[in-house]
Amino acid sequence: MTEVCGEKTVLLEVRDLHVSYGAIKALTGVSLKVCEGEIVCVIGSNGAGKSTLMNAIMAMVRREKGEVILSGKPLEAKSFRVVQQGVSLSPEGRKVFAPLSVLENLRMGAFSRGADKGVEEDLEWVFSLFPRLKERIDQYAGTLSGGEQQMLAIGRALMARPRVLLLDEPSLGLAPIIIKDIFRELRRINNEGVTILLVEQNARQALLLSHRGYVLQTGQIVQEGPSADLLANADIKAAYLGGGHGAGKTTKALS
């Protein structure tokens, strides 16, 4: 547990995070680590608290207890500061700015960098990752297909030049073939040095992509380990990977 990163440094650490919505407790003491250069996934079913975890890291919801630390420094409680500190999120449901053009969406992603000259280079970088976006550079984001919108949401988050890229359900609502494309690009993004933390309901794809994984269930981490081990784990197969009889039913599978 203490040595998950081994030789590598811990880049992002979530420590004993608690979040509630009124009387409903969404996260009750979540802890996890993301090492420099890794892809880490958090899998879990609907309502397990995956999006809440992402929003709590980004300070979009109040962190009731616990903290999030980026290479030794706690992330602040204001979203715009978190982005400036080096964490950006491609949110669930993509949330592209429909009435703005593709280019304007990407420029919004770089908002926190001001007049940084690197922005133009990074635009080219994002276009090299997703050539489709370059073809549609002046189109309104609202007219893109679902897959293209997802690429735009990821590209927009990359434009902040994050040290850790957070992805909330990048496969949501997309056709399997497009999911494959997007996950291939995520690997490429990681190979270019971006550390990634993603939460996914599509456990198989997420575990195939990532180095390590955590299983989130009703607001708590119930299992963790190298993704290959989790993929082979019988309980997880039954609960999240469509194996056995309990596909999709996760309530008791891991308790």
């Binding site: 980004m58 979009m60 204001k78 979203s79 715009f80 982005v83 400036q84 950006s88 999120l89 949110p91 449901g93 949330k95 700015f97 429909a98 009435p99 703005l100 304007e104 420029r107 919004m108 992603g109 908002f111 926190s112 960098r113 001001g114 007049a115 609202g142 679902g146 919108q149 927009r156 902040a160 609502g173």
Partner: protein
Amino acid sequence: MGTLLQQIINGLSLGSVYALIAVGYSLVYSILLFSNFAHGGFLVIGGYICYGILKTFGTNIWLAGGLSLAGAGIAAVLTERLAYRPIRERTNVTLYLLIASMGMSIVIENIFVIVAGGRFRALPPVIPTAPINFFGFATTSAFDLLSLVSAVVFLGALQLFLLKTRWGLAIRAAAYDLRTAGLMGVNVNRLISIVFFVAGALAAVGGIFLSVRYTLYPQLGAITIKAFVAAVIGGLGSLPGAVVGSLILGLAEMLTAGFISSQMRDLVVFSMLVITLLVKPTGLFGKSVSEKV
């Protein structure tokens, strides 16, 4: 023919002043999704600052105008900080903001009743009102042309700001989705302050021209109701809609006054509101975006 042309110019001039007010109001609506009824107060603040400076420091309209814009902008920012931000930070229910804005509107109006008194005041004659003849076709006043030109200049400047600057882009993004704009590293509170400053400053320009047209008094802000109507006709939250709606409204008012009776003006204005709400509730440029899942 002459009368028609003249009334069209007058209508555009009046409409352009409505547009200055409606655009600021619509801008605030597009970000925070509530009708800011204190918007009329910003206009009155601008009018009184301009009046006060002209009376005390002489007749430099550029100085008085500049300070009036800045003052009304700052007053708008303070209104947001004092009355709206505490509510925003506690709840997402925009109805509370609406009610708070009604309260602020009454507060601002009464501050001026106490401080400046309730009587009607005329601005010193700094804005020319001499008649201007159009090649013998029609006669209009320099004031009407000046208010039309000023409105075009200020609305053009706003458009440039929104299209060409980083914060302008952020405002357009926030008008679509404020929360996600926050995820991009935009300091949302600062963005809202900027929006209120712009709205207040534009209202002050409208306030100065309205003070010249109708004289200045604490209830002058009530004319904002016309700007609300214009914004609804154009489509709430849409800036081009606010401009087009305002011009339509100004033209309708002046043509009614010129060819039917000036007492019918308001009847026509509010009939247009009712018809819009019945026929196309989203207004001319209203948006109904369908979300892709």
